[in-house]
């Protein structure tokens, strides 16, 4: 015991301890950061360009209106437009595939191979939470209230810390004057089953 106390008094030992502490701390921070970076997508889809072209969210994510999941577009949907863009398909001067932007080449590849695009969901909830888009859209929420302004994002990024506190705070704020609604909105069984 005595020796331990003595050791602790040494400068080098103190420095070593500090370094070990920093390593653990930064490791934790790195792990936390890993959970926060947006996932690698198969195609670097630029949301901003499409939103600026006045394409509605629900055009590509129609599920939001009808069902739990908003859905991700299939390559047919992408190709419906990109397959006839005048910019590349002008009969007078068609641009050869090799000269297309890289991301569009990837899309063309998926279409050619008739493979679905393996989009990676960005907003995911754990298996024990059953989120449903439909009632939220029905209640009049706009997409950007949760997903942020997509005209300023390229590849979709997580705009919210999706956790239960975030959900429940909003649920409460939106049922202040309606006890009946509140019962439903803060019921555990509404999301967890």
């Amino acid at each position: 015991m005595q020796r331990v106390f003595e050791l602790l008094k040494k400068k080098e030992i103190q420095l070593l301890l500090l370094i070990a502490f920093m390593v653990i701390l930064s490791g934790g921070a790195w792990a936390l950061y890993q959970t926060q970076i947006p996932p690698e997508q198969p195609i670097q889809f630029p949301h901003d360009i499409h939103v600026q072209l006045q394409i509605q969210c629900l055009y590509c994510h129609p599920g939001a209106q009808r069902q739990a999941s908003a859905g991700l577009p299939t390559q047919q949907k992408c190709w419906a437009c990109h397959g006839q863009l005048r910019k590349y398909w002008d009969p007078a001067a068609p641009v050869p595939l090799e000269q297309w932007p890289v991301e569009l080449q990837k899309l063309a590849g998926y279409v050619e191979r008739n493979e679905p695009i393996p989009w990676v969901p960005v907003y995911i909830v754990p298996d024990h939470v059953h989120f449903n888009h439909r009632p939220h859209i029905a209640a009049g929420f706009a997409c950007e209230q949760c997903h942020g302004d997509m005209s300023k994002q390229k590849v979709a990024e997580l705009q919210q810390t999706i956790n239960m506190g975030w959900c429940i705070t909003c649920h409460q704020q939106n049922s202040v004057n309606d006890p009946q609604k509140r019962i439903k909105l803060i019921d555990c069984g509404t999301c967890h089953y």
């Binding site: 106390f5 956790n163 239960m164 429940i168």
Partner: protein
Amino acid sequence: MAISASALPHAHAEEHHAHDHEAELRREHLMLDPKPRGELNAMVMESMTSTSWKFWVVAGILAVIVAVALFGAWGYMISEGLYLSGKNRPGYWSLFLVHTVFWVGISHAGTFVSALLRVFKVEFRRPFTRAAELMTTFALAQAGIQIFAHMGRVWLAYWMFPIPNQRQLWVNFQSPLMWDFLAINTYLLASTMYLFLPLIPDLAMARDRSTGWRKSVYRILALGFRGTEAEWTHLRIALNIFAFAILPVMFSVHTIVSWDFAVAMRPGWSSTIFGPYFVIGALQSGVAAVGMVVIVIRYTMKHMDYFIRKEHFDAIGKLMLVISMGWAYFFFNDYMIQWYGGDSFTDALLHFHEAGPGGWIWFMMLITNVAIPWLVLWNKAWRRNPVLLFSVGLLINVGMWAERYIIVPVSLQINRMPFLWGQDFRPGIEVPIFIGTVAFFVLLYMLASRFLPLVPVWEVQEGQMAHSIRRYGKEPVVSVAELE
């Protein structure tokens, strides 16, 4: 300082040979066999610091057992799931809960012996209050380990704390487990403080008599105690308050532990008798454990034969006997209540206790808890025999383990759906974990004995100062001065 004269037990035993009698009194009673202050202090210090290699061998073995049987097995169970234990449907609770109650019960007696006897100014308590209080704290730690091992997802145990959070989740104060959780925490805090308060003067004494790292640690722990009159007055007041305050806590803790069962909607559990039944059961096992600890201390540590004498064995033996009678009364009551108003499922359950496959455990419980103490402890000579007393204490603890075994896993086999009554019950990984906690308890105690004065020197001195032998004619009379 009021002076009252009272006859101690055995004071009027033999009348002829007055001088022999006085010598015998001094040999018998620690309080009448004073030693100088310095010598006492030196004895305690020496008992604490002289360690043989045997000690470290035993401690090393225990440490290995703790590492493998307790933490190794437990860690394996956490990573694999509770299927490693013997639990099933309907035996959702089983040995972990048995062991929790078992350890809580043992922890009970430490505070009981110390606080209750202090309140009633029972003089024989003085040398072993510390040993009993340490037992409380260490046994509670084992109880904690067992209850955590019981949980399906122990890594979430902190959810039991009412921590305000953004998710607006709260704990359920309706749940007996919540009461239990709070009660045991309160008890742990209270008993630790109650352990610490009377330790202060002894730590100060140790600080003044040690060097090196020991001294620095004792200095911090002694809180600068110097032994002024004001400090002693404060300490005595605090101790008095605590001794009184801790009694209801102590009784409530085990009552609340019993409510885990008594409040549940189960045949055999849902009974009002469970509160006092559990308290007396806890005392039963606890006092027996104190007896065992005291005997072990006396025969393994230096100078302890001076502090702990046959009179203490005798007193603890009597306590054990009385409590065993009380326990038997409440056990009998359980059947009485069922006899005049129970339902058919409880009937089946009580029948199952003795006629089921675990019937031998039920009979063993009665033999070790009632028959043996009643037969042995009546006899003064037998009470004073350390081997016998130790054996009886051990048997009582086995019996109390059996009692909890019958209350938890055996009783769980009977419910209101006969289709799903018990199938069978086999212990699994609970066994190594229990062995691990026993080893852990002993290990903690051994390490503490190297560090804390196991005998409260100042209390012994205080008692010795208050006791004197006066002489009325030829008759020696013991008188006690009350320090207030």
